[in-house]
Symmetry: C2
Subunit: 346 residues, 2 copies
C-alpha cells in the first residue's frame, strides 16, 4: 500500500495541503505553480488522473479539480504527514488556559480541557469523563439527611465523587449504620466498581446478616447507587466551531450532527471504540461507524491517571482537517493532563 512513486506522494500531499486550506477542489495548475515540484501542469494532470483511479483522489464533477478521498487522507496521515511540534507559545497558551485556577475536582478539569481543546483547534471537542465503572472504590459515607433519608457519598481513587440520595431502612440506628459503612469500606477498598457486582454484594449481605443482623434493605443503597448503569458523561466544547466550516453551510447536516451531540450515549460509544489504543487514533470519514459523521474526522486519545486509563478525548472536524496541528495539540494536551492528574496533591 505504501507503494506510491515519490512524485505521486508529493502531488497527493500538495493536493491535501492545499485543499485543507482552501476547501476548494485543487487543479493541476495550482499544484504545478505552488509546490515546487518542477513539473508542468500537464504531467501533474496525468499523475492526478492516476491517483484518482487508485482511489486517493476524487473529482466532484468532470471539469473540476480534485479533492482527497478518505483513502487519500488515510495515506496522508499514515505516510506523508510530518509531525509538527507546537511552538512554545502555543504550549504556554494551552497551559495557561488549563491552569486558570487551581482546580481539584476532576470533572472541572475535564470540562476545562474540553474548552481548551476546542479553543486551540477551532474544531469541536468531545471528552468522555472518567469511567466510573473502572475506577477503584476508595471510600463511602452515608450522611443522614432526615429520619428516612440519607446521602451516600462514594469516592473513587481517581477522585471521582458521586452522590446519591437513598431511603434508609427505618430500623437502622446511627451506630448500626456506621458499622455497616465501616464494614463496607473495609471490604470494598481497592476494588473497581465493575468488580463490585451484585453477586459480591449478595455475598457481603449474607456475611453481614450473620454478624450484625441488619436488615436486608441496608444493601439496596449500594446496589442502587452502583448498579444503575450510569451513563458515562461526555463533555462537549466548541460545538459551534464546526459551523464555521464551509462543509456545514447546509442546515440538514448541522441538524444531524447536533442531534448526535444531544445523544450522550452515542457519543460515549463513539469514543469508547478508540479507547483501547495507546496512541492517538484518527478515524477518517466513513471509517467512523456513525452515519452522521461520515464526512467528519474524529481524532481521539486516551488520558489516564498514574497509568490507569480514565477516559477518551476527541476532536471532531471535517475530513478536511489540519491533521498535524490537531494531532500535535491533542498529544500535548493528553500528556499535560496526565501529568496534572497524576500529581499526587493536585
Amino acid at each position: 500500500m505504501g507503494s506510491l512513486s515519490e512524485r505521486k506522494k508529493k502531488i497527493l500531499k500538495a493536493v491535501i495541503v492545499n485543499y485543507t486550506q482552501s476547501a476548494e477542489p485543487v487543479g493541476s495548475r495550482t499544484v504545478a505553480r505552488g509546490y515546487r515540484i518542477g513539473l508542468s501542469s500537464a504531467t501533474i494532470r496525468n499523475e492526478m488522473a492516476d491517483l484518482e483511479e487508485m482511489g486517493y483522489l476524487e473529482q466532484p464533477h468532470t471539469s473540476a479539480g480534485r479533492i482527497p478521498s478518505d483513502k487519500g487522507y488515510r495515506y496522508y496521515v499514515d505516510h506523508l504527514m510530518e509531525g509538527v511540534q507546537l511552538t512554545s507559545e502555543e504550549k504556554k497558551a494551552i497551559k495557561n488556559l488549563l491552569n486558570a485556577e487551581k482546580i481539584r475536582e476532576i470533572e472541572k478539569i475535564i470540562l476545562n480541557a474540553a474548552r481548551v481543546l476546542s479553543l486551540s483547534t477551532n474544531y469541536t471537542a468531545l471528552i468522555m469523563g472518567p469511567q466510573f465503572q473502572k475506577a477503584a472504590f476508595k471510600q463511602m459515607r452515608i450522611l443522614p439527611l432526615s429520619e428516612k433519608q440519607g446521602l451516600v457519598v462514594l469516592i473513587t481513587d481517581t477522585g471521582f465523587i458521586k452522590n446519591k440520595i437513598i431511603d434508609l431502612p427505618y430500623s437502622l440506628t446511627p451506630s448500626e449504620l456506621h458499622q455497616v459503612v465501616n464494614y463496607l469500606n473495609h471490604k470494598l477498598y481497592g476494588l473497581t466498581i465493575d468488580q463490585v457486582t451484585t453477586s459480591l454484594i449478595n455475598e457481603l449481605k449474607r456475611d453481614l446478616f450473620r454478624r450484625l443482623e441488619i436488615l436486608e434493605q441496608a444493601f439496596l443503597l449500594l446496589e442502587e447507587s452502583l448498579k444503575e448503569e450510569e451513563q458515562v458523561r461526555v463533555y462537549l466544547g466548541g460545538t459551534t466551531n464546526i459551523l464555521n466550516q464551509p462543509e456545514f453551510k447546509d442546515v440538514e447536516k448541522v441538524r444531524s450532527l447536533f442531534s448526535l451531540f444531544e445523544q450522550e450515549a452515542l457519543l460515549s460509544r463513539l469514543l469508547e471504540n478508540s479507547s483501547d489504543a495507546e496512541q492517538v487514533v484518527v478515524n477518517i470519514g466513513r471509517e467512523n461507524k456513525l452515519q452522521d459523521i461520515h464526512e467528519c474526522t474524529l481524532v481521539t486519545a486516551t488520558y489516564s491517571i498514574q497509568d490507569k486509563m480514565l477516559g477518551t478525548m476527541g476532536i471532531l472536524g471535517p475530513t478536511r482537517m489540519e491533521y498535524c496541528r490537531v494531532i500535535g495539540i491533542i498529544n500535548y494536551l493528553v500528556d499535560y493532563l496526565n501529568l496534572i492528574l497524576s500529581t499526587p496533591n493536585r
Copy 2:
C-alpha cells in the same frame, strides 16, 4: 391600547393563527376564505392596511401578504388568545415522561423536566437550576480524603448537594475538625447561602478562635466553597428542535443562536430577568434583551418548592410560536413540578 374594533381583532387573530401554522405571509383572500368573517377580501385588505399602519402587521415586500409584528403578537397574547386547557392525554403523557423513575436528586428532576418540555412543545427548553445562593443552609460535612485533603459536602434545604475538595490545614485533628463542623452546622442552620457572607464568616472565625483556638485556615474552606460565585447551571433540552423551524434555514442564525446556547452565563441572565414574576412571562422578539434572540419568543415561568422560588424555566421558539399551547404546557408543568418538589418525602 386595547382599542381595536372587533373586526380588526378578528382579522389580526386570523392572520396570526394562519401565519403560525403556515409560516407564509397571509393575504387578504386567505383570511376572507378561511375565517368566517363574512367580509370580502377587499374590505379585509383595507383593514389590514390599517393594522399595518398601526404597527400590528408587517409586509415583507409590497406584493406579499402580511405577517404579524412583535406588537401584533403582543396584542394577541394580551387580548386575543384563548387559554387552552391540555387534554387529559397530554397531561398523562407529561406525567409519564416526568415520572419515568422515582428520582430524588433535584438536578435529575430538572434535567428531565427540560427533556419533557422540549419534547412536548417541539421547541427548545431552558431550565435554570436551583439558585444555590438563595437556598438555605441545612448541613455540611467534611470527609477526610487523605492527610491533607478533605471533601466538603454541603446540603441545602432545597435538596441541592454540593461537593468541593479542599486542602485541610495540617494542624487539625479529626476531633477538632468534627468540632468545627458541628459548630458551623449549628450556627449556619437555616440561613440562605447569600446570608452566609464573608463578614458573617469572619465573625464566626473570631468566635471560634477564642473558643477552640483553631487555625484560621480552617475557614478558608467555607469561604472557598461558598464565595466562589458559582454560575447557576442552565439545562437545555431539544436544542435541535429549533432547527426544524423554517426561520432557521440560514446557518448564520443557527450559529448565533447556538453560540448563545454555549454561554451559560448569558442564558442564566436571560432567565433571571423574568424570575420575579409570579406568572408566566412572554418575551416577544425584540422585547428580549439579547440580540441573538430578537427573532425568537421566550416564554418563562418560575418553579418553587414550598413557595420558595427555586429557578426559572423557559421555552424558546420563533416568534411565530403556538403561544397558547406553549403557555398551557409550561403552566401545567410548573404546577406539576411544584407539586412533586414540595412532596415531603419525594
